[in-house]
Assembly symmetry: C2
Homo-oligomer: 349 residues x 2
Amino acid sequence: MPTRKPKPTISDVAAAAGASPSTVSAALNGSWKRRRISEETVTRIQAAAAQIGYTANLQARGLRKSRSGLVGMILPVHENRFFASMSQSFEACARERGLCPVIASTLRDPKEEIRTVETLIAYAIDSLFIAGAADPDALSDICKAANVQHIYVDLPGKDAPSVVSHNYHGAEQLSRVIVDTMPTQSNPARAKPYFVGGLTTNIATSLRIDAFRTVVTDRLGQISPEQVIACGYAPGQTARELAALCDRLGGLPAGLFVNSLTAFEGALSYFVDLPPDAFEQSVIGCYDYDPFGAFLQFPVHMVRQNSDRLIQTAFELIDAGTTDPVLIEIEPDLIPPRTIYKGRFSEIG
Amino acid sequence: MPTRKPKPTISDVAAAAGASPSTVSAALNGSWKRRRISEETVTRIQAAAAQIGYTANLQARGLRKSRSGLVGMILPVHENRFFASMSQSFEACARERGLCPVIASTLRDPKEEIRTVETLIAYAIDSLFIAGAADPDALSDICKAANVQHIYVDLPGKDAPSVVSHNYHGAEQLSRVIVDTMPTQSNPARAKPYFVGGLTTNIATSLRIDAFRTVVTDRLGQISPEQVIACGYAPGQTARELAALCDRLGGLPAGLFVNSLTAFEGALSYFVDLPPDAFEQSVIGCYDYDPFGAFLQFPVHMVRQNSDRLIQTAFELIDAGTTDPVLIEIEPDLIPPRTIYKGRFSEIG
DNA sequence: CATCTGTGCAACATCGATTGTGCAAGCTGC
DNA sequence: GCAGCTTGCACAATCGATGTTGCACAGATG
């Protein structure tokens, strides 16, 4: 490529078609009817545009209209099946509306979240989807100051609409199946179910813990604080906590509720060193679904959040211009062990 | 929000600081030294900017400089651990350079790929990373016409630099471990290893098939065409092909090389209906790694592509301005069954 | 005192598209 | 035959930031 020819602009089309730039603009963006441009001129311009390979400069358009056609979403990590599903749903919905999705992961770091949101706003995104932020309300403040429509998915915020999974119901179902199918342990120390992973500052986590506590108390008469280990999401930390717990108990507890796939990955990195029969006296469940997680060496009950419905519902609210802090809850599904949910890409992938 | 105040612009800062817009621009973007603006004026302007909460409109800047600060990447699907890792690496590298990553999935649909690339170019992305396109060379043509720097990762293209995994080596290692540890089958029909998944039009797949063929021929003396089933990536299709194969053979083959995680998901959806002992007479491997996939009910050998190095190397080429079609191959790692690779987010996620 | 050399900043054109406004040609009606 | 209307389009301002050019003023020089 010795000579770099610049991309053709609207003026190039105008020259080629023998029309003015404003007429070309109208002809190409559909406003020609309103602007009383003759159909004949329009077809001539369209032909010229196609002929020289014109495509609009969306930055220029965005600048003029102060709408970019970009929609942003921030989420904690890509390497997590749940958030990956959110991305996939988000892309599909955005494209359906002729928008360009911009997905950013912020690693649950509040500073990074803020920096990222500011960057997205600087690109004049039309709206922002916030999926699991460490500090949801700080983001709302920024968006409000910049007048950017935004919505929470997965984790609710208080200053904007939220579409989230019904965390209590999901955790209730998972807790029940764990508690009700726990084997009776010879060692009483191991007879109790445990909850591991997540942070109590996270509203979703605290709802899930509530459900867990209620179910355990209901079924077993009591629960002690040490049965809830909200040690964060980092796999390494979960692995260490789990190792310490099993040391104390002399083996895996009869029931284990793992909160989130990242924590579950940590659990797995501890499990790999255990003998195969270590799992025989335990029932394990994980809030969030992964198709491979569903078919592990030991059976795992999983809760599948409906990312499609979460995102679609959120988009509908955005389309409707909702800015009031409503809260919509979507029911998740309990997936039995060794069952594969046949997702949307079963025939594409 | 009854009154919507527009975002402050450079002129607002100018007014607040008692300076001209051009001086403000210079003061804020660092070019003030070169433009002989006094340090005192600069600090005054910076104070004013901070005070009224100014942030640059990146669309306007992009329009003027004809560089947007956006870098694009297209990939087939988000819901796949390998591509999710690519996204994660890509984000990190982009942010390190002060760029904003835009990641789009195109579902291996050539038309969608083209549409998406055109959209990204319309937003004036500075460069494009192409991870696994159905029609790589068509995309190169578009990028060249628009003068957009681009690079292939994962799957090579012929008109631009490529950084890919050493598919042959990876597949060779995986094939060897499968063939060498296959149990001897009482039923001779099931004694042979099979390759399933992917498309022969995909260069990575065809290299992996080459390696598989060579290893099988080398170790077992021969290979028949029916041992390679390149039925695409769709999980559903893989499940059906596998079911048909096992019907014919009267059970799982002694060795199974599954090409790609999406195909493996399909395999899994067939496996769930098999009795637990069905896997005892088989060795299974998968090209691509998933931490949960590594700990399934049956042992699985996996090949982990080094997404960090792939992306980093690609970024270095882009930084260096390389446009010649070089090919760089990165060695992948063979991960033994029931081993968890401790990824970068072990302490964050 | 007149000229010369810097210094510090403002004015203005520009990027490419959108949009309010204006103007000429063609037509109607009386 | 002329006001008045419609039709079809061009002109020019605008979005916000950048960078080139040029101007005013200060101090230095002869």
